[in-house]
Symmetry: C2
Subunit: 369 residues, 2 copies
């Protein structure tokens, strides 16, 4: 089967890693050798993964494992809420998110007892408007006499695969003394990413979305001073970190990330090829199928969102139900297109080679003939 | 290898379940068929697992999946904190925990911005003293003019495997209008357990500790009114639960629990045999090895904690280092005894049959000869 599911594309472990995981599925005692937190375990060397490999992979000073990107955002936001809003009272309880944000980021803000504010998105290609971060920050400064706690940038968003101008947004936030959190669920592990090159405070990765891992697992990379706030130790139990509840993501997904790192380091170097294939697909889909890309052009990510009105109208005319497309593609050996939707189609070319991309185009083409 | 590790004993998936998981390790699109939260997915039928099977398995009105027992305690405590301490201001921000509590429960309290208070434990067999819950609750009522938010009972604790008088403690708490949370990380999935028979509000299970699952995964069972508080929906994103960040434990461990349920239902029926073997082991260890059980007798759980001064003294005399025992047992085919500790030994007989239990006794016996 050809898998074009954008939610799965970056999360498939290589088969040699699946092999390596087998002994860990039969009661391997990871905790037996644990000096107190899974990120200190030396056998396998999770300590090295957390202290050396991941920090260097994403340009972080401090790294912690969590259960996914949303859990990572909550980890950082809730710790920052306690430190700045509750204790020091030096920040207003607001978080500005780009207007394309994933819903889970809004929920991480809400769960942290903070209020989300969404920025504008440009209409034709759904690009995030950097200047609107400045406006929204200033509105809060004016009405609350304090700057908001943080901004969250989805890099890229999970709807259009657009990459916002992160460096520029981070600069705006920093000028206002506002923390910058990046949701890199669809970037870190797929493409080269370095927190320091963007000057952001927190970058969150999803191991099951873009790090070729079984789920649930996320990674939070932090700049040193945020790291100190997030990793604060318990008042009651020596050496245990409060926000991790004493131990982070324990279990098979963490072992998976340990084994998959060499593969990840290699594959991010092939990103340009992945983007080239995505744009090749876009070009053919627009020209030959009459699809229209919703999102920035040229595209800089494998996540593609098409206006497929041409399909929808044809199906309407022919009295086909809304699951017809899903069934047809599956019969032809293509999975990953959301069942029940034909007005727009979201897909990823990440797992495809050129022949498979051609096959997908041709399969749609037959349908429209 | 004979595995006596109490942290692993209840968490080993049967090999047929490991087989069933294999296709899900290669990018199976669980999210593709998701109507909004993993606990509503019908293929595989996670919805049925969460709405029918688990509630009936543990006697809960509402069930949610989380990433482990500690995350389950935090889920409940933080939601109750918001509802009662922050919004209604009708409870004092304190939680009373039994004196044998696992450290992670203390951290779940602390992370929820609540203060932990530990009860007394009786000296000879480390039994939790139920009356002390009443005293500690009343002290807070007197000094704060409000009852504390909750009590947490570890049933059993993870140090001695003692089963506190849960029904009596729950009755005391209920008389004072205090929520009762049970950490059943070492019970639910090993032994028959029904929340309703104890009249508790929240019961937390650990899938990787006692439900024969790969980790990380936990289950939170709730009585209806607590369930309503915990599953509150977002103000900003329709239908998404705030405390779950919109979607709970997604990934392989959840699929594992789905497949393992028939096995669990069966194995809790064999609990009496497990307890019988544990007591047989205790009896031989005390009589033949000179070990002394730390914990209640007769024992009602497979988790055994022995005073092994007899070993420690022998090793001291013979100039053996503190890793000698671990190495010796491993050489003989026994793993799961924590390296570096010989004054006390914690082990579980859960995975053993009688012959293996005898072999473990005899292996220690040779060492002492």
């Amino acid at each position: 089967m050809i898998n074009v599911d954008p939610l799965v594309a970056g999360g498939v472990p290589p088969s040699h890693v699946v092999e390596q995981l087998q002994p860990y599925m039969k009661g391997y005692p990871l905790c037996l050798y644990c000096p107190g937190d899974v990120h200190r375990v030396k056998k396998p060397d999770i300590a090295k993964l957390v202290e050396e490999e991941l920090p260097s992979f994403m340009g972080a000073d401090v790294v912690r494992l969590v259960h996914g990107a949303r859990e990572g955002a909550f980890l950082a936001l809730f710790a920052l809420y306690k430190h700045h809003v509750k204790e020091r009272k030096d920040k207003a309880p607001f978080v500005i998110l780009d207007g394309n944000t994933h819903y889970s980021m809004v929920l991480a803000v809400e769960r942290s007892m903070l209020t989300p504010v969404l920025t504008e998105v440009e209409e034709s290609q759904y690009r995030v408007v950097p200047e609107d971060f400045a406006r929204k920050i200033e509105e809060i400064e004016d009405s609350h006499s304090k700057e908001p706690l943080a901004v969250i940038v989805n890099y890229p968003d999970g709807k259009y695969g657009n990459l916002p101008e992160l460096k520029r947004i981070a600069k705006i936030a920093k000028e206002h003394n506002v923390y910058v959190i990046v949701d890199g669920a669809y970037s870190i592990g797929r493409m080269p990413f370095n927190m320091k090159s963007f000057d952001v405070d927190v970058a969150i990765a999803s191991a099951h979305k873009s790090m070729a891992c079984i789920g649930p697992l996320g990674v939070v990379g932090m700049e040193e001073s945020v790291g100190r706030i997030v990793t604060k130790e318990s008042e009651y139990r020596e050496g245990k970190e409060v926000e991790l509840l004493g131990c982070s993501a324990r279990g098979l997904p963490t072992v998976c990330l340990f084994f998959v790192m060499p593969h990840l380091k290699k594959r991010v170097g092939e990103w340009e090829e992945k983007v080239k294939l995505a744009n090749y697909f876009v070009e053919r889909a627009e020209r030959e199928l009459g699809f229209e890309l919703r999102g920035e052009k040229p595209h800089r990510h494998d996540l593609l969102n098409f206006d497929t009105s041409v399909l929808y109208e044809k199906f309407q005319k022919e009295g086909k139900d809304r699951f017809f497309l899903y069934r047809y593609l599956k019969k032809e050996g293509i999975i990953g297109v959301k069942p029940g939707i034909t007005k727009t189609v979201k897909l990823s070319t990440y797992l495809l080679n050129k022949e498979e991309a051609d096959f997908v185009i041709e399969t749609f083409s037959k349908l429209l003939a």
